[in-house]
Amino acid sequence: MIIDASSVPSGSILKSEVCIVGAGAAGITLAREFINSPLRVILLESGGMEYEQDTQDLYQGQSIGRSFQDLIASRLRYFGGTTNHWGGWCLPLDPIDFESRDDLPYHGWPFPRSHLDPWYKRAQDVCQLGPYDYRPSSWGITPDKVPPPFTGPDFECKILQENYLRFGPVYASALRDTPNITCYLHANACNLVTSDNRSEVNELTVKTLSGNELAVRARIYILATGGIENARLLLASGSQGSAGLGNTHDLVGRFLMVHLVYPGGVIIPTHPRMSFDFRTHVDRSFLSFIGLTAESMRRRHLSNIMIHWSYNFSPVKEAADAVKRLADFERSGNSWRSDLSTVVHNFERLAEFGIRKVLFGQGVPVESMPVGCSSEQQPNPQSRVSLGHRLDSLGMREVIVDWQLVPEDKRSAAETLKLLALEVGRTGFGRLHPLLAEDAPWPAGFYGDAHQMGTTRMHRDPKLGVVDEHCRVHSVANLYVAGSSVFPCTGANNPTLTIVALAVRLADHLKKQLA
């Protein structure tokens, strides 16, 4: 069932076996895994079923480092969380992303990709995607369709699947109709109250903006509030004056990472009629992109990267569109004069295009290919989330985000683009004008995206991680963390499928623990 916490009498104590904080991709996935189990589950959501500005404002914070994504606009604080506005790009992290690498500090997960594969497979269903198969050839991109240099040895064609599933609207009814799961809306987790030795959470303090204060008592608590808020809640919990909960080694909030997005340059293709664009296959949507091969990353000490491209077509495209509009007089409307002018000025190109189209079935020539990049950020303890002194409407301290990069981030990106320029030239694909050099500033248009990760990183060693390989906070027996904040390093791939896979895996683990 779904209940508004504002309607629950203040001072109430809610009891369950499992308490999940946050109803986004991770929280909803976790709750779904407990549908019809004998365990009672409380799912707490700060917002309602729709966007509400006063709740959204609880995300208010301050950025003191590099320019960071707007803390309010980049996340959504209502049922379904940030899946209410995400782009739906899904793919697993690459096997190399899980590897410990001598050349990249703090790199690696406590387990290999193969360990996570069974849960990735189940995450595909949760995200309502196609089969768990990310081989381009399985999506119709056979090797003969991929031009060099994107066939190796340094670059390869990869694919991602696309489905911007809104977890809230899609899964609300299933959770509403399940007797063992109760979702409380407008219920803000404010403090994890622990035992004297802080080895166990005894109670979670919950407040509503309407002034109610409740308590949740559960056997297990799971934080699933996102890459920044998970750290915020841990830092805000524990006894007054302490450094927060699970923060014995001053790691909570550190290692804040996002993906680095920037224009990589422009390729002028040698063959303007090349066609290298694949989007759909049967009834599923997918997108191809270019990545470094694992071998190249290892050999050249490079971080992972996603490279996308778009096309600038010859003016003949505009002219051909103008012809179509002129042929359909109603569509052309008042623009017929400019359409006619476009046709006249491009008559020679149009004639050639027409002949090629009719005789050889050739499409519109490509003039240039702007290249966009999204790179892995190196784990950096100086990049962090901490608590400021300003309080939000619930009396919780707002976050201070100090997002920082290391020189290695730019070196790797610049080296990769240089390598792309060499490979594009060597194979005769074209010529590249890279927009990034190691000794120059990041190009205009550079930003860190909204994939906030790493602030409660996973590591077997409590001195290097906030949570262990089961996502349990090292020093607290009954406290777990779900979501991208546990990523010890990020790869370049979009994080949601991994968030969902880890949530399903955590649910399996907890079911065993609580059985």
Partner: protein, 149 residues
Amino acid sequence: MTLSTISRRGVLAAASAGAMACLSQFVSSIRSYSARISVGTDSNDLVALCSELGCPKSIGKACLLALPAPERALSSLSTAVLGRKGAPRRDRWSPHVLAQSIRERSRSDFQEGRVLSVNGWILALTEARLYALAALLSETTEIRTSSSE
């Protein structure tokens, strides 16, 4: 080898007809790209660059400036572009052979990292020399033509 032993117009013609042909697609794409690119704050420098690279001669001039000073001389460039001394003259100057040689050497340049950044574009050293040579020859030919008039 010095250019006094050969016709400058001949080399230019060979370069234009042969080796330049293999890159002409690239050049014409740049030209048309420069006319099409939208002007935004992020791409102002690119617009300027592409306008500058709007014709082979401009590319050649940019390449010439990007090359180390000792390599800018006509004699060094022609040796570098046309190949080893002593090879049969007709083979060296055949547009077909020259074009193939330029292609192969450019590929090898990219493989070995022998590249030149010309206003941001990453070009093989061999092709950059070719463009530079073409520009230089074109310039000297123009001077001769105007002075004879």
